[in-house]
Amino acid sequence: MIFKSSEWLKKAGVLGMNRRNAEYIMRCNPRSSFPLVDDKVITKRLAVEFQIPTPSLYHVIEYHKDISGFERVLGEQRDFVVKPARGSGGSGILLITNRTAEGFVKQSGNIISRADLAYHISSILSGIYSLEDLEDRALIEALIYPDQVFAAVTYQGVPDIRIIVYRGVPLMGMVRLPTRASDGKANLHRGAIGAGIDVSKGLTLTAVHGSEVVTHHPDTGNPVNGIQVPHWTKMLLMAARGFDMTGLGYIGVDMVIDKEQGPVLLEMNARPGLAIQLANRIGLWQRLERIDHAPSDIFATPVSRVTWAMETFADSYS
């Protein structure tokens, strides 16, 4: 039974956790480059250098004594996002749409008092959300108003798009859609759903919810497949350039589509999860192998890598 299951997963080209860690993350991602993606402040700086759009940074809070003064720095800006620089999985992120006398209006419409927000920031600084329980910094950046393309399949929150990039070649994508259960967070562990995206055309496929495959959004009831992702080729290019930015051979690039700016880079992940395979119902391993067997000239520029990927992976969606 075990042998048969193993053979079957291998044939489907599914990437397992052990292989991802040993053969891709450890082999392709030099440890010294991890801080480039683990710390969002550094990632943002890099993105600016490479002229990749990101949400504009208002302020970085590093010490507890600076918490009280952050509102002054914001000036007239009424909406913003608070996030830990080294957070993972979207934890510790707070979206504020407006400021009132009582406090701050969260995206859900609830109000968070000034004291509560200060406590939240102080929690971030003491490292609760950080990857290794280290002391952290809090980022205050521009709130993204997402393109309405996914509005019918989103429950509050901001849907984001994850593209896996291997040796600079984008190979698989999904859009993570918040649900009521995920509390507006685009995090699969918390109950958001992830819809696969046809790499060649930018059309959404079915989605994964937990470990189940679903065709409709659990809260809005609308079908998740067949949505054309705008700016798709541009996003593939941004993702492909993530490799040139960081030198990391195996990354997940997370982006959101802003109503006005178009796609912006949120963060990159040096240990991207495996659930994207369920969202696409296609194994990552088979595509990774195909990239390893690709002619070397396709790796020349981001454009050549994206073109190759869009052509090569078109056959998987018949």
Binding site: M17, S123, I128
Partner: protein, 509 residues
């Protein structure tokens, strides 16, 4: 798999294999250190009275050979001087000194390890010429008597001679004159000497042995028998009953080759007694005694040379890597989550004091209390480090309460709660809370159950005495454990739970 990995694994496996083979083949280590062994406690006690001159008492002691091993000896010598001599295979204790007017009690105690005979360590005796005091005539006479048996199998020859002890010479009977002359000679020199001459005449090596029957009890008289080598086996022949002992009869030889068992010069032996007691001594003792007697480098660098209180620690420590290996298996082969990486090992170590059932119970209790406390503390908005400190204080408060409770009930298991790893427990409470909040109740409980399961398995492994002993005697086995860990580290196949997770990938249905 890559070549350096294979080389490393081979290297890690060759070291223990070579060392263990060496120990077994050349240092006489047991193949399985934990095999049950019969041990006997022999004690001898003698009362002697002295004369004017210096009194000397010699007593034959048990010796180590293929079938038995003396692992521990203790001498009581009173005011006398004691000396240990070796004579051939024999071990002889010599007490000497002036006893004076009163009596002197001397004693000897030994622990004997009786093991199934190992032919590899036993060199078969060769047929030696007749002793000098046997005249040519006697040799010829004996030759006449046994002439008819010379063509028989060695075993049959032995049995024919045994029968002659009982006066059965078989048909055709030897010459009556020869028989008469033989019984006259036997009369003068004793049955044992006569039998030895007959055995020599049929070409069977034999020797006289004095010793004890290995049964529990006290005896004042030793037993005589003749040990005969039939080419394949050692047989024991009783000269008095003319019977060959069954193989199952265990005999303990003390003095051989005509050496007297006890001899006293210038004194009087008032009484002497031997007592034998079957004993269960721990495996640890046996190895300890054996290794202490050896002068080999590998033996002198044994863990048995540590003071006993540190030995205790190492018995457990040597098994901890196996616990870590279990965690590797559970996480990388099965894909089951645990809190922290080595938390289950620490829990398993603590369970040694509380016991498994109480340990798991207390663990569950702490997680529950901790969760409730952490939840209510969330509203207080304490900073990370102070918050963890509060949790730590709570854990210690619970320790105290449980210990006091245990003391009221007289339950040692509850009082041992203080040995649980409290820092780890505190961190686990925090992790459990975060996991419940972020990943949901199911994930939280699953991880808690995984942690408890690995702790329980690890505890059972650490508890296994045979394994403790094996690793203690052969600490080089740690390299083999490392080899398994290296191999697991390069396992890039699927985890068991991934079969379940990815069953919905295209092509499955």
């Amino acid at each position: 798999m890559k070549r350096p990995i294979i080389l490393l694994v081979e290297f890690l496996l060759v070291i223990p294999a070579a060392l263990i083979t060496f120990r077994i083949l050349f240092l006489g280590y047991p193949l399985i250190p934990a095999a049950p062994k019969k041990t006997w406690q022999l004690s001898m006690e003698a009362r002697i009275k002295g004369e004017e001159n210096q009194t000397t008492l010699t007593v034959a002691f048990p010796y180590t050979d293929g079938g038995q091993r003396v692992v521990e000896e203790k001498i009581t010598s009173g005011t006398l001087a004691f000396n240990l001599l070796r004579e051939g295979p024999n071990q002889i204790g010599v007490w000497s000194g002036r006893v004076g007017k009163g009596e002197e009690i001397i004693g000897y105690q030994a622990t004997l390890l009786v093991q199934p005979q190992r032919s590899s360590t036993f060199t078969p005796p060769t047929l030696e010429p007749y002793p000098e005091n046997i005249s040519k005539e006697v040799q010829t006479l004996a030759g006449h008597l046994v002439a008819r048996w010379n063509n028989l199998e060695p075993k049959a020859r032995l049995h024919a001679i045994a029968a002659s002890c009982r006066g059965i010479w078989g048909e055709p009977r030897p010459d009556d004159r020869d028989l008469k002359a033989w019984s006259a000679w036997q009369e003068r020199h004793g049955r044992v000497a006569a039998l030895l001459v007959l055995l020599r005449a049929v070409g069977l090596p034999g020797r006289a042995v004095e010793g004890l029957l290995l049964t529990e009890g006290v005896t004042t008289i030793a037993l005589n028998w003749i040990e005969v080598w039939t080419g394949k086996d050692r047989e024991s022949l009783s000269p008095w009953t003319g019977k060959v002992y069954e193989k199952s009869t265990a005999l303990l030889p003390l003095a051989t080759d005509g050496l007297p068992l006890v001899r006293i010069v210038h004194g009087e032996l008032l009484d002497i007694q031997w007592s034998l007691r079957r004993q269960i001594i721990s495996q640890w003792r046996i190895h300890f005694e054996r290794i202490r007697q050896s002068s080999h480098l590998l033996d002198r660098w044994s863990l048995f040379y540590l003071p006993s209180e540190f030995q205790e620690t190492f018995r457990i420590l040597l098994l901890v890597p196996i616990g870590a290996l279990m965690i590797c298996i559970l996480r990388n082969l099965v894909g089951f989550p645990t809190f922290g990486i080595f938390m289950p090992v620490l829990m398993a170590l603590a369970f040694r004091n509380t016991g498994l059932i109480y340990g798991i119970g207390i663990f569950a209790c702490f997680i529950l209390i901790g969760y409730v406390a952490r939840r209510s503390m969330d509203k207080l908005r304490l900073l990370l480090v102070p918050r963890l400190s509060v949790l730590l204080t709570l854990v210690i408060v619970c320790f105290t309460a449980i210990a006091l409770f245990g003391s009221k009930l007289g339950l040692r298991e509850l009082m041992a709660v203080g040995l649980l790893p409290f820092v780890i427990l505190t961190m686990t409470i925090e992790r459990f809370f975060v996991l419940m909040e972020e990943a949901g109740v199911r994930e939280g409980l699953r991880t808690a159950a995984g942690t408890a399961a690995v702790s329980a398995i690890t505890h059972q492994i650490l508890h296994w005495e045979a394994l403790q002993l094996t690793f203690f005697v052969y600490p080089e086995l740690l390299f083999a454990v490392a080899a398994a860990q290296v191999l697991l580290g390069r396992y890039t196949g699927y985890r068991l739970l991934e079969f379940l997770r990815f069953r919905k990938i295209r092509g499955s249905s």
